[in-house]
Amino acid sequence: MSTATTTDSRDKRGKAPAGERVADWADGRLGIYSLAKANMRKIFPDHWSFMLGEVCLYSFIIIILTGVYLTLFFHPSMNEVEYHGPYVPLQGQLMSEAFNSTMHISFEVRGGLLIRQIHHWAALVFLAGMFVHMMRVFFTGAFRKPREVNWLFGFLLFVLGMFTGFTGYSLPDDLLSGTGVRFMEGAVLSVPIVGTYLSFFLFGGEFPGGDFVARFYSVHVLLLPGIMLGLVVAHLILVFYHKHTQFAGPGKTNNNVVGMPLLPVYMAKAGGFFFLVFGVIAIISAIATINPIWTMGPYRPDQVSTGAQPDWYMGFSEGLIRVMPGWEINFWGHTLVLGVFIPLVIFPLVLVAIAVYPFIESWVTGDKREHHILDRPRNAPTRTAFGVAWITWYMVLLIGGGNDLWATHFHLSINAITWFVRIAFFVAPVLAFIVTKRICLGLQRRDRDKILHGRETGIIKRLPHGEFIEVHEPLSQEQLHTLTAHEQYKPAEIGPAVDENGVTRKITRREKLRAKLSKGYYGEDNQILKPSVEEYKEITSGHGHH
């Protein structure tokens, strides 16, 4: 027993409580007290949007738990067997062991179907959660220094999540996922020079071969989740280390973090939230089918169903592939399959476009300070407009990916939708950018009005000389502070071409570009100046109320 234990917690016999003794023992070996000192009462700010990341973390844990259970029953083998299970419409059909064992899980293992559905629903929620979480971080500017690396970690998790999902979706070897794998073969074949070789190495020969399920299996259960687990841990460590960002408000500064302590409030809230997420997903899995492979049947390369789509997170790549014109160039006995290869190249570029944005913004602003106060989206009009343009781009591609269902459900021509997407791919993001920026500036103007003239109360007053006016109520100091807390940059100027010694300096293209971009961000018409103290005083003392 450590003699350093505080005396007041000892009981009558002079012995510390059991829990304390265990903790002391652990501290002597692991040094947990120094760790706990910094973290046990760590402060977390409360806001619903800060819990989106938790949705992702918890659905990831749920996926791992249920995934481990599924591996106990799943056979990652493509040996052909005849089905003799309880599902009548497939009895006597030839299928791979992978499909057969998935049928077994769904119809014969008690609770197997539930776990399968929880696993798949949690995967959809995981990816959707990451998407929204990423957008929250983007639109509030939480990616700024010092969090750029964590932004990249998060982005990588999203991309790896997509591929883990895709490999998992392919494992049951059903007709729908097999069609997806066949698409993948075609995409790999389109790679110039090495495509054919890559495809043969991937499938162990010609498609479909007898290997891909086993290979995807180890990628799906070991390789990708292993990397993701590492990234999740790193992501969380950085969240702890940086401390959470917060929105502007009274008492909240760039040098503090206001909220509730980890122990007990956050322990209860975040811990409880895990059970809430798990509970919601379990209930969804009790009432809604996902991936009913028994209706799809086993994979055969000569069979297909209409409405063949990947899970939603791959939908935008499906859109790219569907709307691309069929370009193909033949030369010197070779074929350049641009109709497939170009979408294959644009696919990562769509994702990279959003991933690199933080670095572009930090280059334009030249800001190297730490930022812990979040922006309201309207106060960063160009960033917000870029984000909305990107989402629009993504959504247009999603529409393209589901063009057949749009056609049947809205009685449209599939060809017309495809043409719409082809045009919107270029036009829609630009329009979204312009419109969003105007909206942001409008909201900034409204804020400015509110600060200077107060809140519109809706009360109409008649003055003695007959004029009607609306009474404006001045804002409280809390509100005034919150609305004016954001920083506003000035556009960067290109420094003087001649320095103080009279030596002419070469102005590089980069500098010119940067100055131009900076003007686009912070120039006269690109942000509304927040009122200064002088303006405010002049107006409030000058006319009193309006």
Binding site: K269, I287, A288, G307, P310, D311, W312
Partner: protein, 269 residues
């Protein structure tokens, strides 16, 4: 073959090909044509045809021509057979309401007796597939699993795994097979209505068709068990994704708002 291809530019080649084709189609139609009817029914049959003709002239002739020879608004009905009439009129597709990419299914306004008369008249214009007897399409005892495989090979590409329907080019579509009378499914396979190809008995046997109908009955009827819960339209990942976003993430965000919201404060007194 080589000899043939050398002569393919001969002035008479087109005529020969046409003759061959006509002979082949004619031959085919005769092949489909049911065996000669019993002579005893002849008078009754003629009466039915007469009645059918009257109905035809009122409801169909404006598009298909006075003698079923077809116009620019509707194809010729010579040789389409009774099964085609029974399908088209029985599902309400004919008479068509308006031109469009595809003539949709709607409420049928004819009685079965009238449809039979119409069918008899059209069948009298040229032999074609007959209306199937219940024996032919009754799925009793058929092999459901075999039907599933046949469905996935022949039908699912347009009608979806379990017959929920799907899109075709330029606004056309393969309709949902939910709640469609087995007789009409049989007739559709037999006759190939509108843009649907036909699956005649020579390539998809009567037995095969029964299996397919039995499969559809098993996977796409009101009594079909969806073990996992809501089937979300049976449309695959798109509707699943939508559901996951709206009800999965949507619910979780609502829960998160509750978790993070401030607890009600005591009123100041």
């Amino acid at each position: 073959m080589k000899k043939l291809s050398v002569r393919r530019r001969h002035p008479l080649a087109a005529v020969v090909v046409l003759l061959i084709a006509l002979a082949a189609t004619g031959g085919l139609y005769t092949a489909f044509a049911p065996a000669d009817k019993a002579q005893a029914d002849e008078t009754a049959q003629t009466l039915t045809i007469e009645e059918g003709k009257k109905l035809y002239l009122v409801g169909c002739a404006s598009c298909h021509g006075k003698g079923g020879e077809g116009t620019s608004d509707g194809p010729s009905l010579v040789g389409v057979g009774a099964a085609a009439v029974d399908f088209q009129v029985g599902t309400g597709r004919m008479p068509a309401q308006q031109p469009g990419a595809q003539v949709p299914k709607k409420k049928n306004i004819y009685s079965q007796a009238e449809i039979d008369q119409l069918a008899a008249y059209i069948a009298s214009l040229g032999a074609g597939p007959e209306i199937p007897t219940e024996n032919a399409y009754n799925p009793e005892g058929a092999d459901i699993a075999e039907g599933g495989e046949l469905f996935r090979t022949n039908c699912a590409q347009c009608h979806n795994f379990t017959g929920k329907g799907g899109a075709l080019s330029e606004g056309k579509y393969a309709p949902s097979l939910e709640g469609v009378d087995p007789k009409h499914i049989y007739e559709a396979m037999q006759t190939g209505p509108q843009n649907m190809p036909s699956f005649p008995d020579t390539t998809l046997s009567e037995e095969n068709k029964k299996d397919i109908i039995a499969y559809l009955e098993a996977v796409n009827s009101d009594d079909t068990v969806e073990p996992g819960g809501l089937s979300l339209g049976g449309l695959g990942p798109v509707s699943e994704g939508l559901f996951g976003w709206v009800f999965g993430l949507g619910t979780l965000i609502a829960v998160a708002v509750w978790v993070a919201a401030r607890t009600a404060k005591a009123k100041k007194s």
